[in-house]
Symmetry: C2
Subunit: 220 residues, 2 copies
């Protein structure tokens, strides 16, 4: 396995630290929809995404969801190892959105190396800062953007990820990503349809007018 | 100045690193309402709060605000030195909520020491994780909580910070903290008044029934 692809600072680690991390890593294949870490489960470890796609989300007491960020090939998930840092006081749930191959680094091993290695600690800082930026971006969208814009952005993002304009996704699932009720999604999609932006059929949202959606996002 | 009070890892730094940080720090007195760092200003540096109170918030394009977190005595503000980390891709504005004495560590000096010192890098990680937790808590409140609960929580928090039940704060200012319109705050405060929870007069919200507000927050 090429750790360099995940950790650009790999060559700055001592041979001992490299060996500890290599030996502390396990491979795991996960099927689509597998929950990798429920909020209250024990500390899983750092996740490296080799292939596939993961989703990090939070859950309300009554079971509603909102997507916080997504992880693709070569991404690292830090918050699945939150026990490493006692300042992390929140629960994120991680789920495989596609069949995925992941590598899991033991949180004890990672914490030990990070404690001794300034390059690894600084790189970990960078990963956290990136996730922080994504969450801040989410806050801005929730606070300032109208729902039509958030939905248009979501459809365009999905289409980019899936590389198709024909999205196989239920209204329920969209609601879970955006942290709202299914009815709200259905109502807005019907409005999009009446405007000729999308076509709707069972379990499918087809994008008809990408430029129109981009315009809604203020990116025309 | 006692750096140990801000950095519990101070004794793990080399004498050279301690000297660099000491010499890279300046004192500044700021008056209430001073904006310490506008979103687009250049990189100010790490802020250590010696006395007083700071507020970190984000601004929408049309000038609306929402409070992200607050900083009190002995707190450290990292995001006023965001140039240190190029993974930080968002703008936070920091304002003095009270007359404050702060110390500012040069971002270049801090970055240099952090690069070489694993203890400082790890401690910086912890600070960021704490702020991350606060923002995640904010997301959860925005997404799942009704506005009456958010307002009740805000009034109780203000009362705890100010150590008085008679809050000198305008509806406009409350709206800026919570990221909503003044009218929404006024309407809910009038409802609180009709329920005997608060008394309203010009520029003042007086808490009459703390237990009632706690009940609204689900903490009875």
């Amino acid at each position: 396995m090429n750790f360099e692809e995940y950790f650009p600072v790999w060559h700055k680690l001592s041979p001992l630290h490299q060996k500890m991390l290599s030996e502390g890593t396990a491979v795991r294949q996960v099927k689509k929809n597998t929950v990798l870490r429920g909020g209250e489960e024990e500390c899983l470890g750092l996740l490296l995404v080799c292939s596939g796609q993961l989703r990090a989300y939070i859950l309300s007491e009554d079971g509603r969801e909102v997507t916080i960020y997504r992880l693709f090939e070569r991404d690292i998930c830090l918050f699945s190892a939150s026990c490493m840092m006692n300042s992390i006081q929140f629960d994120i749930t991680i789920e495989a959105e596609k069949d995925s191959e992941i590598r899991i680094i033991s949180p004890q091993v990672y914490a030990k190396v990070m404690e001794e290695s300034a390059p690894l600690a600084n790189y970990t800082n960078q990963i956290m800062a990136s996730r922080f930026s994504e969450v801040m971006w989410l806050v801005e969208r929730i606070m300032w953007q109208s729902f039509d814009r958030r939905l248009a952005e979501f459809l365009l993002e999905e289409s980019r990820i899936e590389e198709t304009g024909e999205l196989r996704i239920t209204h329920e699932k969209i609601a879970s990503h955006l942290g709202t009720a299914r009815e709200v999604v259905t109502r807005m999609l019907r409005y999009f349809k009446s405007e000729g932006l999308v076509e709707l059929s069972r379990g499918v949202v087809e994008i008809l007018d990408e430029d129109g959606l981009l315009k809604l996002c203020g990116q025309d």
